[in-house]
Symmetry: C2
């Protein structure tokens, strides 16, 4: 279970005394490895499987099948699926079980549009209320993202950076929505995997532009850079997904 899951589900955190500064920034992975519940483990795995496409969109999620795959009981599986409902990754129909949330082009466009609207709102609020601590949090998250080589960990660092940008909006619900939409978008990116080519696109430069505008507290410039970043990605995916 990774650090970001904690943001989404109610996981506990046992913090060491040292690292207080970084931890207060929510930038330390304070996950304890072995001792989470079977439900949480199932939640994390199923979440990853749906986001990655290992469990295809719209697929019927049979308890017995998942129970075997995850090597756990029916209760944790059911509970994990119920929790995944929050993230709009799983649908539940009474007495007919669960299925992975469907994916289609309409939905993709909706996600993209909403995401732009909500992140714009959140980023502007973050900048309006800017503090030195927030600034440092953003700079640090950006640095870590740049430094990462591994693709796996880059995804995590990338989300952390984007969420750090919004983290000063003082609006937990808005942040929650943005996090949800971020993940749903990632799912579509994974769904389009292979056909997506980020050729002739300097994502690093895009991130730099957002960062610089943000820490210079230029609302409009930061928002422009952010939305350009999303729309750029969106138009790549639009091509790849228009046929789903």
């Amino acid at each position: 279970m990774r650090g970001l899951s904690r943001f989404l589900l109610g996981f506990r955190r046992t913090k060491p005394r040292f690292h207080e500064d970084l931890d207060a920034m929510n930038l330390i992975n304070t996950t304890q490895s072995g001792d989470t519940s079977a439900t949480s483990a199932a939640y994390a795995t199923l979440r990853e499987m749906i986001l990655s496409g290992a469990l295809p969109a719209g697929e019927k999620l049979k308890i017995e099948h998942l129970r075997k795959i995850l090597n756990t009981g029916a209760s944790p599986v059911r509970e994990a699926l119920s929790l995944l409902t929050s993230d709009m990754l799983v649908e539940r129909i009474d007495q007919r079980g669960f299925r992975a949330a469907p994916a289609n082009f309409e939905n993709f466009k909706e996600i993209l549009g909403l995401r732009c609207a909500l992140e714009d709102m959140a980023l502007r609020q973050s900048i309006t209320r800017a503090t030195a601590e927030w600034e440092e949090r953003v700079v640090l998250a950006h640095h870590r993202m740049k430094r990462v080589v591994n693709t796996e960990t880059f995804e995590e660092a990338h989300k952390t950076f984007h969420m750090a940008l919004l983290s000063n909006a003082a609006s937990p619900v808005l942040e929650r929505y943005c996090s949800q939409l971020y993940d749903l978008n990632i799912r579509y990116r994974n769904l389009a995997a292979g056909s997506v080519t980020y050729k002739k696109r300097d994502i690093g430069a895009e991130h730099d532009a957002i960062l610089n505008a943000a820490i210079q507290r230029q609302e409009d410039a930061a928002s422009d850079a952010l939305l350009r970043h999303y729309r750029e990605t969106g138009s790549y995916l639009t091509k790849a997904l228009s046929n789903i």
Copy 2:
């Protein structure tokens, strides 16, 4: 279980052949009484108890206790609580169980502000895409709301009216968010119950104004009327809630 629950949880609907027109408008209560699962029943009851304040904000929700109250098993209760997570009405902490979502003034203000922003967005999109069907849906919902005498059913009709206004935005996720925020706001209204006096306020007229602007497809006027409606309510509640 009431009609609106269907909007939130994945309940099935067995529709009779007749009433097709009204049903297509999603304005018929197509709930079948006896045959929902224990989980769904628990979900509906717990939801109502949290919204009404019967289960106070922040309260520890012990499985055994709820199991007795609801006269059902532990599994349905756990599953219902897991589902209520989606609505931000219940919080879950791994291995420490569930509690009713906390309520505080900060959160209230956030809900109010977000709600204004999102409903404004949704209403404008609805009007932009206006059709005769949508118009009829709104008029009908409005009429039913006006007609209702019982306080109990008024609440339901009131939400139906507001959701009908947004129902043409072609944005299910946005509607979902608006529905969530609506309920969270209702919760604060219930929490402030007693101290709230709607004296010298003509809520009927406010609804009329929204309706008229909407069916005349005047985006700005409708949005103004809607936001005024919410901010009016908001300022009443602000006085009552500033001390929680």
